[in-house]
């Protein structure tokens, strides 16, 4: 799986988001807790300071009163006045009221004004040395003092005066060691809470005690505020939070302090626990995100893989994405699409296969054609160099394929064509203007042996991406040229023969006929009837011979005359000829009806000849009918237009129908119907030259019908 994929991006993003939220919340919560812890600690040290100062001020007040009382005692005054000579017992008794003799941590002294110690009782280790300064107040608590480094004590002294308001004559000093039993200490600290440190010392500085040992004074900033209302932070070994308070009536100070790290320890513990929970939340969240992501990306991954497989050609690939959600639907749609692609691909392949096969077949056929063609089939490239040479070409020009492929086409042509050829190729390459391409032209080719021969060239050109290519089909027309020449000669001979026939044969006939007539006209009276009859026979036969020659010439002319086609109005043509036929018929009853006839395409003169012959024919064979009827019409047989001429004349035997259209073929004797037997042959020749057909139906004495088709005729 790639690193850039959705499967990684989604959970990473989600986890990062979760982590950020958790961190912010954690930080906020930690700040709150820390603040609460510090507030609590501050409150505690302040309260303890206040409470303990109240407690601690009672003792000095008591000591001051005791000392003042002792100093004001008349017995003590007497003792001082006497310089210690009198009243010692008194003093002793008075002192015993304050403290027993054996009190371990207490010493009481009496001094005179000259600095002479008059009395010392109690723990002598506590004695003042040297003499304390003379107090001016009634009773004063002096600062804590350190003696012998470990002994901390405080002195309360009161002035002994002469009279009530008299001069100071001595003083009483009560000195106490500051000690606290282990039990007392535990009680005190227990009340404050075991974690709190209680310190007592001079407000001005050393010495201080933590109730167990003498310690250096806390830093000035801890001692600066001493109203117990404000807690301060300071360093004393470690960071502390403390609240200080002056003990009223003394130069001493009380300080309650908590170790700041200790105060914050639960906070850090809280932070650690919360961090663990947060980490767990993040981990669970990330896992959840990854799971969701996988649920989405796995089907997507399958789809991607399948699509890639299909793209690379494996059309059988399908995906399995269950469910009814969007992914499931996507998966099903994908499968449907894949099926569709497979189907159309298979269809396409089948088509391509089919086409390829067809192309192969077609190419094979084409190759077979070109290889077996009698004609030369030659292909050339755009420069006019031979690229393909079929066996027909080899046979025709005498070169084998290996001799000519790659060589220029000019090899195959006489020199007089070569310049034109080169120019033609160049012109076609530059302008695509072609003079020969797409047409068939007659030229001359040159064989390997140098002989020229006439050819017919059909040239095609193709412009493809690969360039221009020419394909030429060349036919050797030597034989055709020879036949054409022979045909031309034959035609000329026929023409000349026709001319001779018409001229030279008719002249003697004319003479025979003419002189027979002259004989009859000039010498008729001298001739017997038999001679006259013979002359009549000569007359008739020469006439008939002349008609035969005329008809024969007309028939032969038809074969040579060029067809000049145009639109011919057949109805009009039939009507015109019918009028002429009616005129010729004279008085005899002849009905010619002409139906609706579509126009035709053909040679007007020839069609006129054909129509004339048909109507003449019909008129001739209806001569013995009264009335004679001729019907001209048109009908459509199987989509083919057919003109017909129907008469009620002598008809003919259907068995001889095929002889009707032969030259000089007659089905009736000349005594019955005159004629040379050429008329219908001419009709057939004209119709055939127009690409049509002509046929007839009839029965003896039952009339005849002649049919003709003219493919150029418009359909009805």
């Amino acid at each position: 799986m790639r690193r850039g994929s959705l499967e990684w991006k989604l959970p990473l993003f989600f986890s990062a988001l979760l982590l950020a939220v958790v961190l912010v919340m954690l930080a906020a919560a930690y700040q709150q807790v820390r603040h609460a812890a510090l507030s609590l600690a501050t409150e505690r040290v302040r309260r303890i300071a206040k409470v303990y100062v109240d407690l601690l001020q009672r003792e000095p007040t008591l000591r001051r009163a005791q000392t003042a009382t002792l100093a004001a005692d008349p017995g003590v005054r007497e003792f001082v006045t006497s310089g210690g000579g009198r009243g010692r017992d008194w003093v002793l008794a008075a002192m015993r009221r304050i403290a027993p003799d054996s009190a371990p941590n207490l010493a009481i002294e009496v001094w005179d004004s000259s600095g002479q110690r008059l009395f010392l009782r109690g723990d002598t280790a506590l004695r003042s040395d040297p003499a304390p300064a003379l107090p001016t107040d009634s009773a004063v608590v002096s600062p804590y003092r350190l003696q012998h480094d470990t002994l901390l004590y405080v002195a309360v002294q009161a002035a002994v005066r002469q009279g009530t308001e008299g001069r100071v004559i001595g003083r009483v000093v009560q000195i106490r060691r500051i000690t606290l039993s282990k039990q007392g200490r535990e009680t005190l600290t227990g009340i404050a809470g075991g974690d709190m440190t209680l310190l007592v010392g001079n407000a001005d500085g050393d010495p201080w005690t933590d109730l167990e040992h003498v310690i250096p004074a806390p830093p000035a900033e801890a001692r600066a505020r001493h109203d117990s209302t404000v807690a301060v932070s300071y360093a004393r070994g470690e960071l502390k939070i403390g609240a200080a308070a002056r003990i009223p009536g003394t130069p001493a100070m009380f300080l309650a302090e908590l170790s700041r790290p200790q105060v914050l320890a639960p906070t850090r513990l809280y932070l650690r626990r919360m961090s663990l929970i947060a980490a767990a939340i993040v981990v669970v969240g990330a896992l959840g995100a990854w799971w969701v992501s996988r649920r989405i990306t796995t089907p997507l991954h399958r789809l991607t893989t399948a699509a890639a497989a299909i793209a690379s050609g494996d059309l059988a690939q399908r995906v399995d994405v269950p469910g009814t959600d969007e992914l499931g639907r996507l998966g099903r749609s994908f499968n449907v699409m894949a099926d569709e692609v497979k189907r159309s691909r298979e269809g396409l392949e089948a088509q391509v296969l089919e086409r390829t096969r067809a192309l192969g077949d077609s190419e094979a056929r084409l190759r077979a054609v070109t290889e077996t063609a009698h004609d030369a089939i030659i292909a050339a490239d755009g420069d006019g160099n031979i690229a393909y040479w079929n066996p027909g070409a080899a046979h025709m020009f005498g070169y084998t394929a290996s001799e000519v492929v790659g060589r220029p086409l000019t090899l195959l042509m006489p020199e007089r064509y070569q310049d034109d050829h080169r120019r033609g190729i160049q012109r076609y390459a530059e302008t695509a203007e072609a003079h020969v391409i797409g047409r068939t032209v007659e030229l001359h080719g040159r064989r390997k042996d140098g002989n020229e021969f006439p050819i017919e060239l059909s040239l095609a050109a193709a412009r493809t991406e690969a360039g221009i290519s020419f394909t030429g089909v060349i036919r050797d027309i030597t034989e055709r040229k020879r036949i054409e020449q022979a045909l031309r000669e034959t035609n000329a001979e026929i023409e000349s023969f026709s001319y001779s026939v018409s001229h030279d044969l008719r002249a003697p006939l004319r003479a025979i006929h003419g002189f027979a007539r002259i004989l009859l006209e000039d010498h008729g009276p001298q001739l017997d009837p038999e001679a006259k009859r013979i002359l009549t026979v000569i007359d008739e036969n020469t006439r008939r011979m002349g008609q035969l020659i005329d008809d024969l010439l007309a028939f032969s002319r038809l074969g040579r005359k060029a067809l000049e086609t145009a639109r011919v109005d057949m109805a009009d043509l039939f009507r015109t000829i019918a009028d002429e036929v009616r005129r010729t018929a004279g008085d005899r009853p002849l009905e010619i009806t002409i139906g609706v006839l579509p126009p035709a395409r053909g040679d007007r003169d020839m069609l006129r000849q054909a129509v004339t012959n048909l109507l003449d024919n019909a008129a001739k064979f209806t001569r013995q009918r009264a009335p004679a009827r001729i019907e001209v019409g048109h009908r459509t047989d199987n989509g083919e237009g057919v003109y017909y001429v129907k008469d009620n004349g002598a008809g003919f035997d259907q068995r001889y129908a095929d002889k009707l259209f032969g030259v000089f073929q007659r089905l009736h004797r000349a005594e019955e119907f005159e004629g040379t037997g050429v008329g219908l042959a001419i009709v057939q020749r004209i119709v055939l030259r127009h690409g049509g057909r002509v046929w007839a139906e009839g029965e003896v004495d039952g009339g005849a019908t002649f049919y003709l088709t003219l493919p150029g005729a418009s359909p009805t």
Partner: protein, 147 residues
């Protein structure tokens, strides 16, 4: 034979039989007296332009109509026709072409060269006589070429 001075019809015909029949046809219409016959193309040309047996040039007599057979020995009818129509002096004389042939090229060429009409000589003598005399009469009587 008719004297050249009296010639109204010049018949150019090599076939003596045809010539005789033609003359007979013309005679029936009483036209034969003014007919002069040339037997080939060369003689016809000589009649007009030559210095041989004929002396028409000096006399200045021209026929009113020429009946010209196309198929002639030596110089054929078409050549004669061409020469006649080229010459100012003779080009106004009507020329009727006599032919045995209905072949279109001959008739078309004759008209192109300036022939005025043509007669296909039929085998039937009566038809022939009728055609010849009608055409002869037409050109003799109805047509008055400028002199």
């Amino acid at each position: 034979m008719t004297q050249p001075q009296e010639v109204e019809i010049l018949l150019v015909e090599d076939n003596p039989n045809d010539a005789e029949l033609t003359l007979r046809a013309l005679k029936q219409r009483n036209l034969a007296n003014q007919v002069f016959v040339c037997q080939d193309g060369a003689e016809a040309l000589d009649f007009f332009f030559g210095d041989g047996s004929h002396a028409l040039r000096e006399i200045g007599v021209v026929p009113k109509v020429i009946l010209l057979d196309l198929k002639l020995p030596k110089v054929d009818g078409l050549e004669v026709l061409r020469r006649l129509k080229e010459e100012d002096r003779t080009k106004r004389i009507p020329v009727v072409v006599l032919t045995s042939s209905r072949e279109e090229p001959d008739i078309a060429r004759a008209y192109r060269l300036g022939a005025n009409s043509y007669i296909v000589k039929p085998v039937d003598f009566e038809a022939f006589a009728r055609a010849v005399s009608e055409v002869g009469l037409y050109w003799l009587l109805l047509n008055h070429p400028p002199r």
